[in-house]
Structures are given as structure tokens and as C-alpha cells.
């Protein structure tokens, strides 16, 4: 979230699209009901199904799954055509006036630089034009034909209300009503927020859908404002924290990135990431990258990371490609992986195409599962009848299942969607012999290290040199680890302005990332968490819930990254003179000497408002980008592409270009492309989702949740049920090209058929929570149906849009 949960109460218009906050985040959704009850806010829900969120909405509009870019692109067109945008904001705080290179083009659904064999773009033309001073050229009049404003207007001119109705199935009247409601927040004193989740992310064009929404919010001047923003409602309790800490194939903590194999030396690696300003007087905060990186390497390899060995740069593995989950399952299925460790992750249920995952797991030599609960993954080798028809005797994988503690049995911190790091306390001992994940990982590491010490082996240095300063080596405490990622001084740190003065003593915790240095004198495991355990102690454990301004900022409750800042880009909530756009909801303002107010400024604290420094300090431009440059895989402006399993077979925006039917730059392997179904055989559009009574595959082990939602079902509309002769409560079989499930049919008015390009399209809703382990009624893993294709940027699988066939079981 750019903003945070409580801040939703400050919104005037709330758009829930690509998510179902009432269902998946009920306690956060309360701030929607608060905004409605106390601000008179209006709630809009756009979804293929009439959801629990829709049940309390002011306006609901249906949409065909996977066509959100058409809808949102239509809103962008509406705002530009009617000129309902926040002019002062977009002129000063975005790249609208920036001029794009002449060789950039968009034709027949493809941007310049496409290579169809590699399914990838050469992005060099996707850039701004530079002047002789090295800075980007701009045209403040917005008249230049290649300025971002003109290019964007031209790009979305095709996204008419008629096109929206044809492609999305949304009635024009409803669409226009929603456009008007959103446009009502263009004035500086009105704000809209967007709440989304995996309903946007889990598409082959997921990242671009989200980008389109962010563009819409920028046009309306809603980013950085209280009650505004673009708010990803993350799924798991610490998925934000794990992302922040970089537990992904290509990341390091704090959104630093692992080197590619072409980056053989450290200066080359740092130069590519130390972004120089693209406009005069911009902060371009990534200029500090070396400080963050060197401090990380000191936290990991301590004394073994020296200036002489490039801070142990060679200890880091170098990427030849991404090793995301889809890639790993592909390698497993090809028999190229030997071992796999699942730490609290039920991959058999969570990855797309269960049959492929099963095949992959069965080819492993060993599988290690760490979990508080029994999972399908740990029992993938068990024959569960029709829902897992395997022959254990033919599966040679050794499986280890290690019992872990759960939340109630450990101390530590989790990061919520609002980026709050909240500390929690242990209340009881774990059952039986269960141990914490920290202890298991430490024990495992020590045993591996001991073997390398004793026996030697391949490249043991990074293992033997790993900094391991914990009082009990076999069980580091959460406190020790939190202090390590927050960061400390390794030597006495002199004040750069007055070297005689020591600002931090050796061993002292640092107050924040501004104190980090690139000379090896500081250690910090995650720069964006720096200061969470500061010189005064554990700020994550703070419990002061006072809210003096009444806008819900509670700066004394826990600690938010970065720097305890609660609303990102908050400088953009004030005008060029530093006055809040909305005096009723003051966030920060210029008091003549410094920025002050209800939040930690996302800006240089003493920079006067009128020096031309932009509010988007992480961007080298200093402003927000409508034109993504090389930042996205598919192109600088989001374009609609059909789901890989499309009910149409062509892209209505580019009916004559087969290459532009589905995302030309998606993550897809040849084998998976061959596993895609066609509408002739699988005529119904399916989408998967969670129910509020359950949490993924955990709560089928939880009796109270099993009681309130006991048995697997699929939702089908009354029209489709009638067509297929299916009565409510009857059992049905739902098949895709990859497998099938059987479940109870829940026949509902809440799913209506849509007319798309003159054809009737039926949606089928598939809740995901059942499987062959648990105390709820046994069921089928829903990913038996889902296709293995991922978004081109983040490789998130397309769980929200695929084709199935429904029939009586």
C-alpha cells in the first residue's frame, strides 16, 4: 500500500477492483465502512462476480475477467477527453511534459523493439529524449507531439465506452457512471483510493493492470494524498516483509538486486543501480545504493567483506535468468532439480497446474517441509483417491517433515500491508517437539558449515565466512536478528561535517538509513528497515495509538518503513508553495524552515517547496511516470492483451495480429503453451479466489473455519445452470486442459452472463480452499485446473482467468 489501512477512512471515492476486500481483508475493510458512514464516501465495486464487497457497494459493475486494462484505459480516456484531471499536480509532479525518443512506436498491438522468437523486447527506444545538458527534454505546454501527454492521449483514444462494453461486457451506462464518480476526485480537495489484490496481480498482464490504475490515480492527483494512493492488499501476514527482505530469486534485502552474470565486477554492478538525476536538482535517492549494498555485505559476511575483496562481491551468486516459482517447477518437471525445501509453503496447492507440480516433486531426490500443519505438499506421495491418484511405490523422493512453531509460540515482527513492522510476543510453548524456523534454519546451517569445515567441498568460503555473531549459535534470538537487519555502527562514526564529533559509537544501533556508509563502517541487513531497532530500542514494539490530527496516522504505533513514514509520496499532497492541496486533511506542509505535519516527509526535510525538486524522490526524474520507460516487460503504456486461455481467440483491439492476442512478453514455457485449452472444448471462463471463512489451505485444518464453510463448491450463474440442467447443490465436474475437480454447484444470481463481442460468456467461480489433507470435507486442489503462465514482470501465474468446461458429475 502507498497508504495504510486506517487512512482509507479519508477517501471520498473507494474503488475495489481486482480484489474483494470485504471477503479477504474484513478488518481492513472496516475503514471502507467508516469512510462511508462518516465521510459519506461512495464505494464502487467492479468484479466478474457480485461479491461480499459488492453487497455493501453504492455501485457495482460486472466485468469479464482479465479485461481490466480496457476498463481502466477507458477511464483514462474519459479523464483526458473531458479534461477532468488535477492540472497543477500532473504538470508539476508527473512526466506529462517529457519528450519521448523519436524511434519509439506502437503499431498493431506491439511496441517498438519486439523479438517474437525470444518473446522479449529490446527496450532501448522506450526512453526520453535527452538535451545537450544530459537532462530530459520537456515541453511544459504539452503540445509537442511526442510529449508523454500527447502519446498517452493517442494511445488510449481507442479505449472508448463502446470498446469497454464490447470487451469487458460492462454496460456503458454503468461504466460512464463510474467514470464520473472517479472524475469527481480531480479537484484538489477530493480523493479516491483504490484497493486491489490478486484479482489484478494474477493475470498474465497483472503488473500492467496495476500500472494502469496507478496512472488513473496520478491523473486525478490522488497519489501521496491522505485517503488516496494505490493500495495492494497483500495476501499473507508477512508477504510484505518477505518481499521487503528480498526472498525472491533475483532480489537482495530492501529491493536491492542480485547481480547478473554479465556484471562481473562491483563497480559495474553499482554503476547500473546508482541512478543519476534525469532532471536538475532531483534527489534520485538510489544514488545511495552503494551505502545500502556495502552495509548489507557487512551484515552478512562481517570482517570477511573488505574493500579489497569488493565487499565479498564474488560470494553472491550471479543470475543467468530468473528462478521464479514457474521456472523452478519447470526445471523440476524436466528432472533438473534434486532438492527442494518448503518452509511453510504448500507448493503442490499454490503453484499452477497441479499435475506438473506433482510430476516435478516426484522427480526430486529429497524434499524438506517445515510447517506447523500437515500439508498436501508434504504428502504429495500419498494416494488420496481421485483427488491425488498417485502410486507411492513409484515415487522415490525422500521426504522430511519438520514441525514448526506457529505465531502464538514465538516472538518477532511482521510487516502488514501498510508497511508497519509490528512486534509480537510468545504466549505458549509449541506442541510436542516443534521448533522455531529460526532454530531449524540455524541448526541446518551449522551442520552444513561443520561438514565444510571437516570435509572441505566446493567453494566453502561464503559458508565458512558467514557472519554468525549470535550468543547461542544454534538458536539466534529474534532480538539479535532484528538488530542486525536494522543496522549498527561497526566503528565510531565521525560526523561528516565535524570529524571531531562522533555521531555513533562502535556497536551502537543506527537511527536510520541516512546513517549508512559505503566504507564498511556500518552493517545493516535491510536498509529500508534501518531504524526499526534504533538507538532507543525496538520501535516495532511501540503501542502508542494516539492520533492527534484525527486522520489516523498514529505515528507512535509500531514502526513503518521507510523511516516511519506512513503515506508514501506525501510531498505530493502539498502544492508548489508547500500548502496542503486539501486543508481539511493536512498531511505535511512547509512551515517556512522545514516540512512538518502528521507524517514523516517523503522529501528532503529542509528543501523549500519551490526549488523544483520533485516529490517522487526514488525516481531519477523526481516525478511520477506515466511513460514507464524500460521499467515494464510489455511496454511503456499498458495495453490490453487477452488471457492466454481466451474465450474469444483474438484480441478485440488487434483482431488481425495474432502475436498481440495475449501478452507478447509473458512468462511461458513451450510445454505450458501446448497445455492451453481452446474455447471450443472449454467454453466457460473460470476464475479462482478465496472465501472469507478460510485462509488458503491452512484453515481446512481449523475446526471453527471448517464448520462455517465445510465443503468444496463452485459458483455458477443461474443462466449457465439452466443451460446445463444443473440444480443448486448438485455435484459437478469442472475440467480444464490440465485436470479436473468435482464439487458442489452453488447456483447464484450473483454471476450473470456477459455479452462479449456479441457472444454470451459465462463465468465459473472456483474457491480454492479444499484439498486432500484437513478436517473439512476432503476436496480437490483447485490448481488442478490452472494454467502455468506468468506475468512478464513478476511471473505471477494467471489464476484469475482460464477456460473450463462444467458438466454434471
Amino acid at each position: 500500500m502507498t497508504n495504510h489501512w486506517v487512512d482509507i477512512k479519508n477517501a471520498d471515492i473507494i474503488l475495489i477492483m481486482g480484489g474483494n476486500a470485504a471477503e479477504a481483508h474484513p478488518c481492513g475493510f472496516k475503514w471502507v465502512t467508516e469512510a462511508k458512514a462518516h465521510r459519506g464516501a461512495k464505494l464502487i465495486v467492479v468484479d466478474p462476480r457480485f461479491t461480499r464487497s459488492a453487497s455493501v457497494a453504492d455501485v457495482y459493475a460486472p466485468i469479464r475477467t482479465g479485461t481490466d486494462i480496457v476498463f481502466l484505459g477507458g477511464v483514462i480516456r474519459h479523464l483526458l477527453e473531458k479534461d477532468q484531471i488535477q492540472h497543477e499536480y500532473v504538470r508539476n509532479y508527473t512526466d506529462l511534459s517529457f519528450i519521448v525518443r523519436e524511434d519509439f512506436s506502437f503499431e498493431d498491438g506491439l511496441f517498438s523493439g519486439y523479438n517474437p522468437e525470444k518473446r522479449r523486447y529490446d527496450k532501448s527506444s522506450w526512453d526520453y529524449e535527452r538535451g545537450e545538458d544530459g537532462y530530459v527534454k520537456t515541453d511544459p505546454t504539452l503540445q509537442h507531439p511526442r510529449c508523454v501527454y500527447q502519446l498517452m492521449k493517442q494511445h488510449y483514444a481507442r479505449y472508448t465506452p463502446e470498446m469497454v462494453e464490447r470487451v469487458c461486457g460492462t454496460p456503458q451506462a454503468k461504466f460512464l457512471q463510474i467514470c464520473e464518480m472517479l472524475a469527481s476526485t480531480a479537484p484538489a480537495n477530493r480523493v479516491a483510493t483504490i484497493l486491489y489484490a490478486l484479482g489484478w496481480a494474477q493475470h498474465s498482464i497483472g503488473a500492467q493492470i496495476i500500472r494502469t490504475a496507478a496512472m488513473m490515480q496520478l491523473l486525478l492527483g490522488n497519489i501521496g494524498m491522505p485517503g488516496g494512493g494505490i493500495n495492494a492488499l497483500r495476501g499473507h501476514s508477512n508477504i510484505q516483509g518477505l518481499t521487503d527482505l528480498g526472498l525472491m530469486s533475483n532480489l537482495l534485502p530492501g529491493y536491492l538486486t542480485l547481480p547478473n552474470e554479465a556484471e562481473q565486477d562491483l563497480p559495474q554492478y553499482l554503476a547500473a543501480r546508482t541512478l543519476k538525476p534525469l532532471r536538475p536538482n532531483q534527489m534520485s535517492y538510489w544514488q545511495n545504493y552503494p551505502k545500502f549494498f556495502v552495509s548489507l555485505m557487512k551484515a552478512w559476511w562481517g570482517k570477511a567483506a573488505t574493500a579489497e575483496n569488493n565487499w565479498a562481491y564474488d560470494y553472491l551468486p550471479k543470475l543467468d535468468k530468473l528462478y521464479d516459482l514457474l521456472q523452478v517447477v519447470e526445471l523440476m518437471a524436466q528432472g533438473k532439480m534434486n532438492g527442494y525445501i518448503c518452509q511453510g509453503f504448500n507448493v503442490l496447492a499454490a503453484a499452477p497446474n497441479k499435475a506438473k507440480v506433482l510430476e516435478g516433486l516426484a522427480k526430486l531426490k529429497y524434499l524438506v517441509v517445515m510447517d506447523p500443519l500437515a500439508t498436501e505438499t508434504s504428502e504429495f506421495w500419498r494416494n488420496a483417491g481421485e483427488s491425488n491418484p498417485v502410486d507411492p511405490s513409484k515415487i522415490q523422493t525422500e521426504v522430511f517433515r519438520l514441525p514448526t512453531t506457529c505465531f502464538a509460540e514465538e516472538d518477532g515482527s511482521l510487516v502488514n500491508s501498510g508497511r508497519w513492522l509490528q512486534w509480537h510476543w510468545k504466549g505458549a510453548e509449541p506442541p510436542g517437539e516443534a521448533r522455531s524456523d529460526i532454530e531449524i534454519m540455524a541448526e541446518l546451517f551449522l551442520r552444513i558449515r561443520e561438514r565444510y569445515r571437516r570435509e572441505g567441498g566446493t567453494f566453502p568460503a561464503p559458508i565458512l565466512d558467514l557472519w554468525w555473531p549470535y550468543a547461542n549459535e544454534a538458536n539466534p534470538t529474534p532480538e539479535e536478528l532484528a538488530k542486525e537487519y536494522s543496522g549498527k555502527a561497526l566503528v565510531d562514526l565521525p560526523d561528516p561535517k565535524d570529524p571531531a564529533r562522533i555521531v555513533r559509537r562502535a556497536g551502537e544501533q543506527l537511527a536510520g538509513f541516512a546513517e549508512l556508509r559505503d566504507d564498511g563502517s556500518t552493517a545493516c541487513g535491510c536498509w529500508i528497515f534501518s531504524g526499526s531497532w534504533g538507538p532507543t530500542g525496538n520501535l516495532m514494539a511501540r503501542r502508542d495509538n494516539s492520533d492527534p490530527t484525527g486522520i489516523g496516522q498514529t505515528l507512535g504505533w509500531s514502526w513503518a518503513w521507510p523511516a516511519n513514514r506512513r503515506i508514501l509520496y506525501n510531498r505530493a499532497s502539498a502544492d508548489l508553495q508547500g500548502r496542503p492541496f486539501d486543508p481539511q486533511r493536512k498531511l505535511i506542509y512547509w512551515n517556512g524552515k522545514a516540512w512538518a505535519g502528521a507524517d514523516v516527509p517523503d522529501y528532503k526535510a529542509d528543501e523549500p517547496p519551490d526549488t523544483g525538486m520533485g516529490p517522487f524522490i526514488m525516481n531519477p526524474e523526481g516525478v511520477a511516470r506515466f511513460f514507464a520507460r524500460a521499467g515494464m516487460a510489455e511496454g511503456p503504456f499498458p495495453e490490453h492483451y487477452e488471457p492466454f486461455e481466451t474465450p474469444l481467440g483474438y484480441n478485440p483491439l488487434h483482431p488481425k495480429t495474432p502475436a498481440a492476442t495475449s501478452n507478447p512478453a509473458a512468462r511461458v514455457f513451450a510445454r505450458d503453451l501446448a497445455d492451453m485449452g481452446k474455447v471450443e472444448e472449454f467454453p466457460h471462463v473460470a476464475t479462482t479466489y478465496r472465501l472469507t471463512e478460510h485462509f488458503h489451505y491452512w484453515t481446512k485444518n481449523v475446526r471453527l473455519n471448517a464448520i462455517v464453510q465445510p465443503e468444496q463448491f463452485v459458483e455458477i450463474g443461474e443462466a449457465l445452470a439452466k443451460e446445463l440442467g444443473i440444480a443448486n447443490g448438485e455435484r459437478v465436474k469442472v475440467s480444464s486442459k490440465r485436470g479436473y475437480i468435482k464439487a458442489v454447484a452453488l447456483v447464484t444470481k450473483r454471476i450473470r452472463p456477459l455479452t462479449i463481442e456479441g457472444k454470451t460468456v459465462h463465468h465459473v467461480g472456483i474457491p480454492i480452499h479444499w484439498g486432500f489433507v484437513g478436517i473439512a470435507k476432503p476436496g480437490f486442489l483447485a490448481n488442478a485446473l490452472t494454467p502455468s503462465v506468468g506475468d512478464g514482470n513478476i511471473q505471477t501465474p494467471e489464476f484469475k482467468s482460464f477456460l473450463v468446461k462444467v458438466e454434471k458429475a
Binding site: 470485504a22 458512514a37 464487497s53 453487497s55 457495482y60 472469507t692 447443490g729 473439512a776
Partner: protein, 299 residues
């Protein structure tokens, strides 16, 4: 705990006067269920079971979101989901939390023949005391909302207590505390009525011309009230009765039970109308029968 300290207003089948000198300074309590804010998440259901140490069966799905499908001795509250297409052609998903309404004039208490098995506290809560329950099921018949349920296990009647144990120490009921969207609120009945008026004004501003409060007069008003978007059509909400009344048979029962001199006569008179009584599962063990006969012979 001594009887006098409990501020009991009424007891079933008891004719001795109830201590009634004390009066709560702020009147009775009430729970307000704002259906227009309810998302049907069932947090109230699980919080209720959790607090009250109840676990219902893991049932089946019969083609609706309602699980468990009905109130039981373990499920003192359930969500009822109704899909309604309004005259404008838009869909509404009307979700109502069902459970005891804690009537000011409780039909269950009036119908109950067992002394002290059902009580009404001065704060308005109607509570069942199962140790005195004889499992006759009259409370089921007496209830205009079809709420109490007889357990097959112990043949006693159960229903929502409005968490009288929490309220007694100053806490709100478990369902109220947990409700994520604030669809359930708790306070004095006066405060809840005022709050409801603000909610109704908001709903009217959003086009629900018939929004209103459900606090039915036929049972003397209730200590669980609803804000409805369509207060003119309560039956849209999974059959919420439009004008609930205590069954006339219950009034008759009270009439005959009160004068003790008529006790013997009552025995005979009752036979006639037992026929009309709807009771819970008629499964009575041999042991129960023996106990029942013993009780009779004692007398």
C-alpha cells in the same frame, strides 16, 4: 452468587416477587445489527462458538453460503444469505445475522414451565439456565422468531445469552467485539436507537427510501435490533417476521400457571393444547422416561 445481586427482572414459572428495587441508571442494553454494513463474514458465528465453548458439526454445502444451515444448540447465531433483485434490476445480497432477539416481552420465558430456567435481567438480556431446563421445548413454541434449539445430547434448550457473562463484567458480547465492519454495535438501548437513526439517514441519502429500524412492538421491542435498507419488507431478509407476536397459546399458559390453586386443574387443561406445541427432537431415552415418572411419583 446471591439472587438479589443479579438484578433479575423476570423468571420463568415463578410467582414469588423478584427483587426489583434497583434500576440501571442508563436503562437496558441493546445490540444493533446494521444489515447495510454486514458483509456476511461469519466472524460473529465463530467468535460466538469460540467464546461459548461450542463446536458445531462440520456439515455439508447444500448450494448456499449459509453454514451451518440453521441455528443449533451449538450455533447460537447464523448468517442467512438472500439474493434479491430489486425493481431497478440491480442485485442486492441481503445478509442477516440471525439469533435471539432478546425480546422485552419474551415469549420463551412466558412459555417456560420450569422455574428459573429462563430469566430476564434488568439490562434486558434473556438468558437460559440449562441446569433448570427440563427439555420440554415450550420456549421453542413460545418464540416468535424460532430461535431456541433443543440439544439431542442433553435435551436442554440453548440460545444466545448476549454473552451475559461478558456483559456482567462490563464487556461487549463476543460477536459485537469481533464484527470487522462495525455492523454489530452494543450499548444502551437508547444509544442504539439514536445511532440507528443516523444510519437510516445515511441509507436514505443513498437511495434506500424505506430504510428503518426493526424493533417490533408486538414483543414489546427487542434488545437486538436491526437497521434494514428495506424496513417495509423485513421478510426479504430470509423471512424476518413483519409483525412478530407471542403465540396466543403462550398467553393462555401463563394464565393457567400463575394461580397456584389451579395447578391441578392445569394438568388436565394442558392436555388439550399440548397438541399444538411444537417441540424439539422427540427422542427421549429410557432413562429420561424413568426420571420423568419418578418426578411424577414424588409429587
Amino acid at each position: 452468587m446471591a439472587l438479589q445481586s443479579l438484578d433479575i427482572k423476570r423468571r420463568s414459572a415463578t410467582t414469588s416477587p423478584t427483587p426489583s428495587v434497583r434500576e440501571p441508571s442508563v436503562g437496558a442494553v441493546a445490540k444493533l445489527i446494521d444489515v447495510s454494513k454486514c458483509i456476511g463474514c461469519k466472524a460473529c458465528q465463530t467468535a460466538c462458538m469460540e467464546w461459548n465453548d461450542l463446536r458445531d458439526e462440520i456439515g455439508t454445502n447444500v448450494g448456499v453460503y449459509d453454514n451451518p444451515a440453521d441455528l443449533t444448540e451449538h450455533s447460537w447465531t447464523v448468517m442467512r444469505f438472500a439474493e434479491y433483485e430489486n425493481p431497478q434490476g440491480d442485485l442486492e445480497w441481503l445478509i442477516r445475522k440471525d439469533g435471539c432477539m432478546h425480546c422485552e416481552d419474551p415469549g420463551c420465558l412466558k412459555a417456560c414451565p420450569s422455574p428459573g430456567a429462563i430469566v430476564q435481567y434488568a439490562n434486558g438480556i434473556v438468558d437460559f439456565h440449562e441446569e433448570h431446563c427440563i427439555g420440554c421445548g415450550y420456549c421453542v413454541t413460545g418464540c416468535p422468531f424460532n430461535v431456541p434449539r433443543l440439544s439431542k445430547k442433553d435435551h436442554k434448550a440453548y440460545k444466545c445469552t448476549l454473552c451475559s457473562d461478558r456483559v456482567a463484567v462490563g464487556q461487549e458480547p463476543a460477536c459485537v467485539k469481533t464484527c470487522p465492519t462495525g455492523a454489530i454495535e452494543f450499548g444502551t438501548k437508547e444509544e442504539m436507537k439514536e445511532h440507528a437513526q443516523a444510519r437510516i439517514a445515511d441509507l436514505k441519502s443513498r437511495g434506500y427510501a424505506n430504510a428503518g429500524l426493526y424493533d417490533p412492538a408486538g414483543v414489546g421491542g427487542t434488545h437486538v435490533m436491526y437497521v434494514l435498507h428495506h424496513a417495509d419488507q423485513p421478510t426479504l431478509y430470509s423471512g424476518l417476521p413483519k409483525d412478530p407476536q407471542i403465540s396466543p397459546t403462550v398467553s393462555l399458559w401463563k394464565g393457567v400457571a400463575k394461580p397456584l390453586s389451579m395447578a391441578a386443574m392445569a394438568l388436565a387443561a394442558l392436555v388439550g393444547f399440548f397438541h399444538y406445541m411444537r417441540v424439539g427432537p422427540a427422542e427421549t431415552s429410557e432413562e429420561d422416561e424413568r426420571n420423568a415418572e419418578k418426578e411424577v411419583s414424588h409429587e
